[in-house]
């Protein structure tokens, strides 16, 4: 596997400009001769589909939801970062770049991250022009707030529904192209395989989720914007349908999978309440702007929070990280919460929770200000827990949220399969070992609006593409394989449901491949995952038929792929013998319990190449070269 990141030459701040000046363009008259498949209609997919269609390409957009507007980007709450420096507080493109690199614990590619920071300001311009109703000052100008891991206030937001508003902006731009006939939309359609012809991505196999029909689509390039894989844990903040099947199928067709073990456990989620629980709900990190995190100083203290006096509370984030306080980055805040609970200071049922307290902020700013900032989050908290967070502190606990790992891509966002581009959370590119808050929205839209329109064009203009249609043998073979797989899932007819298996897999992952990992634990996980996967194929019960709307069948296919991916995650975590960002190996920590990187041996991207089901995958590396920043022990103290 050849890993050429294709980073343009020249100083960091000129790389993207140089690329844009030198990349090849497709002439306006020729664009309509090309067709592009976009899978996924979240921020990255919808913005890419809209922008490419505006340029004149023929776009087909696919999503498993009944409407593209429901993609899970919609659930992002807090905001989107951009280096506008509207606050005059010292922000700049370089600072956003630096904080993102540092936040990712120096495990991302400088050139990509710099470009992300560079285009961040254009994203805000584009979204405002689309009518995204961002929060404003009385002057009519845009308002900002702060997020974890940043010393400036650069986050733009629309109440607690920023993801929704940004997605509706991208969705409306795409729907305009649907109305103009430039995008053809395939909702309730799930990609189940990638078709590679002569080494290039040329199409996909899909299942119509209503009729069950399995069909194939050909194109000149394929873009996967299918999100992350945190649902491998079963319980996560992801939507129930979020899955890894598209990227996993691409991996099995030859795309390298980068840093699968880099996963983010978000510190502020509503704790689990029982075994029937189907998902975990996030409370936006923006709450840490005004909320103070604490636990009782006494172990196992069961008094009501109001009865615990000030001097018997431990505001542990403020104590341990005085310069960032409650706005310490996510990986650090999550580990600190887990440590508090593991040591017996946790609150609520099972001691699996810490307080997030707004009493001081309400005293300082007044309830109406807190209500204006976070009203919908407080309402959601009350709906789920039945508790009023204006009166009593919220209880929060970490939950799987985001995956920094994903398909390996070069500077052009192209995977190791020519013609297969990967955008948004589905790729591995920009967040290293830990993503900062409000940066996922930024990356999704940067990829879709401002990067892919150049790089896809460059690929098409530089590549001689043979005429290929769906009658090609590769399409027929891939289609037959998918059909066989569906039939196999239905034929097992065992005793246990898909959810039972998924829950069991999630428990292994949370216990052994979660926030804190050890070599022995990871090896145990590998054995357990394999055993459970075998049981799955012998004992799963998938009711219903193939040619019908069959939600259990949909889930079964996704869980089958999660089993294989889970193994790769554990394997990657074993091999990365250091701690960095969200990947915490107990063997590698500083005396005060922080992640201890090993830059001499692990300042690289680990890229896994599939070798067939019988052979273990091969681990390749892409060295990370740091020219603009100096590698430093990450400190938020």
């Amino acid at each position: 596997m050849k890993l050429d990141a294709k980073i343009p030459a020249g100083p960091l701040e000129q790389k993207w400009t140089r690329y844009k000046n030198s990349c090849k363009l497709v002439s306006p008259a020729n664009k309509r001769k090309y067709s592009i498949i976009v899978v996924g209609t979240g921020l990255a997919g919808a913005s890419a589909a809209a922008s490419l269609a505006e340029l004149g390409y023929n776009v087909k957009a696919f999503c498993y939801q009944d409407s593209p507007r429901r993609a899970h980007s919609i659930a992002a709450q807090g905001g989107i970062n951009a280096a506008k420096n509207y606050q005059n507080d010292g922000d700049s493109v370089f600072r956003l770049f630096y904080e993102t690199i540092k936040g990712g614990d120096f495990r991302s590619r400088e050139a990509n991250v710099y470009r992300l920071a560079e285009v961040s300001a254009n994203i805000i311009d584009q979204c405002v022009a689309q009518g995204v109703p961002f929060a404003r000052e009385y002057s009519g100008y845009l308002a900002n707030r702060s997020f974890g891991g940043a010393l400036v206030s650069r986050t733009f937001y629309a109440r607690g529904q920023t993801g929704q508003q940004l997605l509706l902006g991208a969705y409306s731009a795409m729907m305009r192209q649907v109305g103009l006939g430039q995008v053809k939309l395939y909702p309730r359609t799930e990609m189940l395989d990638l078709v590679v012809v002569d080494g290039k991505a040329r199409g996909i196999v899909v299942r119509d989720l209503v009729s069950g029909e399995i069909s194939v689509h050909a194109a000149d390039a394929v873009i996967l914007a299918t999100g992350g894989y945190a649902n491998v844990f079963y319980l996560s903040t992801n939507a129930k349908g979020c899955n890894a099947t598209a990227i996993w199928r691409a991996y099995k067709r030859g795309a390298g999978f980068a840093n699968p073990c880099f996963m983010q456990i978000h510190p502020t989620c509503i704790p689990q309440s029982g075994d029937y629980q189907s998902k975990l709900v996030l409370m936006s990190e923006s709450l840490r702007n005004d909320g103070r995190v604490w636990v009782p100083k006494k172990k196992g203290d069961t008094r009501r929070p109001a009865d615990i006096p000030e001097d018997e509370r431990d505001y542990y984030l403020e104590r341990m990280y005085p310069s960032y306080g409650n706005l310490a980055p996510r990986d650090i805040a999550s580990r600190a919460a887990k440590r508090m609970c593991d040591e017996g200071y946790g609150v609520g049922p099972g001691g699996r929770g810490v307080y997030l307290d707004f009493a001081d902020a309400i005293k300082r700013l007044g309830k109406h200000v807190i209500e204006e900032r976070y009203g919908n989050l407080f309402e959601m908290y009350e709906r789920i827990t039945g508790e009023n967070a204006y009166e009593t502190p919220m209880r929060i606990y970490p939950a799987p949220h985001y995956t920094m790992g994903g398909l390996w891509v070069d500077y052009e966002l192209m995977s190791t399969i020519p013609g297969l581009f990967v955008a948004g959370e589905a790729n591995f590119s920009d967040h290293g070992a830990n993503r900062l808050g409000a940066s996922a929205l930024m990356q999704g839209l940067a990829d879709g609006y401002f990067i892919l329109p150049y790089t896809v064009g460059n690929y098409l203009a530089n590549t001689k593409l043979e005429k290929v249609d769906t009658s090609h043998q590769a399409f027929r073979d891939a289609q037959a394989e998918v059909q066989a797989r569906v039939a196999k899932l239905l034929a097992v007819n065992g005793r246990r449901t898909v959810d039972e298996f998924h829950r069991a897999l999630g428990k292994i992952m949370w216990d052994l491949v979660g926030m804190s990992r050890t070599e022995a634990g990871l090896k145990e996980a590998l054995v357990k995952i394999r055993a459970l996967r075998e049981e799955f194929w012998q004992d799963v019960r998938v009711p219903g038929e193939a040619a019908d709307l069959n939600q259990e069948l949909e889930k079964a296919g996704r869980v089958a792929d999660f089993f294989e991916l889970a193994e790769l995650i554990a394997l990657d975590a074993v091999e990365r013998r250091e701690s960095c960002g969200g990947h915490f190996r107990e063997e590698f920590q500083t005396p005060d319990g922080e992640a201890q990187r090993d830059d001499a041996n692990f300042a690289h991207v680990a890229v896994w190449e599939y070798q067939g089901d019988e052979k273990p995958p091969v681990r390749h590396t892409e060295p990370l070269v740091f020219e603009a920043v100096e590698l430093a022990q990450r400190s938020y103290k």
Binding site: D66, G140, P187, Y276
Partner: protein, 263 residues
């Protein structure tokens, strides 16, 4: 707690459909309504029956996928709450609950509780956007928007496109959905150039689908999980009347480019 459920089961669009009764004995008050249905489905699968199909995804009240009429009310008895955010603590032991899909001509039933809401997407495709190409946007702060206007636009923009308004309306009208999008964009300075073209195109697209007309029942507002106000309907009607007038004005004039309200 113990519940008796009567759930609408329908194999496909052409099947007759009927209520089927299920008894559930071990419901916990902390469960969400959908988790209660998950428990039922697990039992049905174990018994060799087909589970109940229903749309759901984010389960945190924002994607707009979940869509059930619960005891005659779209999204159930709690105000401003989607089905996925409705928790069983609002029901009591021994309750009898009727669960149906959205019922509206424009939302044909696909299977069980799943309906086809693609009419909403077609209305947005007709005009629910501001036509700004990627790359052509001016600097964001060059368009100041009064805070009050931005807040009001946001009130409308919160719509999650679930379709409860249509399901709750005795006429099966989509006025609240369309009005929310029209108002969101028509309130903002960025939306002014296409203001009248937009409202006309969207209302016409709405009328092409099988939605009914508004007769001020206000059921939509009561059912809306985001509490979107029907005052936006008045706003849309006002813009629509003006748009018809403007159409004439433009058509009588010489300005060729704007004589027809086309995208």
């Amino acid at each position: 707690m113990r519940l008796t459920l009567h759930i609408w089961r329908q194999k496909g669009p052409n099947d007759q459909g009927r209520f089927v009764k299920y008894e559930l004995v071990d419901v916990n008050e902390h469960m969400s309504f959908l988790e209660m249905l998950d428990v039922l489905n697990q039992k049905l699968i174990a018994r060799g029956e087909e589970p109940v199909a229903f749309d759901h995804d984010c389960r945190e009240g924002i994607c707009g996928a979940c869509s059930m009429v619960i005891n005659g009310m779209a999204h159930g008895p709690e105000r401003a709450t989607t089905t996925c955010q409705l928790h069983m603590r609002h029901f009591k032991d021994g309750d009898v609950i009727y669960i149906e899909p959205w019922r509206a001509k424009a939302f044909p039933i696909v299977k069980d509780l799943v309906v086809d809401r693609s009419a909403f997407d077609r209305i947005i495709a007709a005009g629910g956007f501001i036509s700004v190409r990627t790359g052509s946007a001016p600097e964001a702060n060059s368009i100041p928007v009064p805070k009050e206007v931005a807040e009001l636009a946001m009130d409308a923009a919160e719509c999650i496109g679930c379709g409860a308004c249509v399901a709750a309306c005795p006429n099966g009208a989509a006025m609240l959905f369309v009005a929310a999008k029209v108002s969101h964009l028509n309130l903002l300075p960025q939306g002014q150039p296409e203001r009248y073209r937009r409202v006309k195109a969207m209302v016409e697209a709405m009328e092409k689908e099988q939605f009914g007309a508004c007769s001020n029942h206000r059921e939509c507002e009561a059912a809306c999980p985001k509490g979107i106000s029907i005052s936006f309907i008045a706003r849309m009607n006002r813009d629509y009347r003006k748009a018809l007038w403007k159409t004439k004005e433009f058509e009588g004039g010489k300005a060729e480019g704007i004589s027809k309200f086309r995208g």
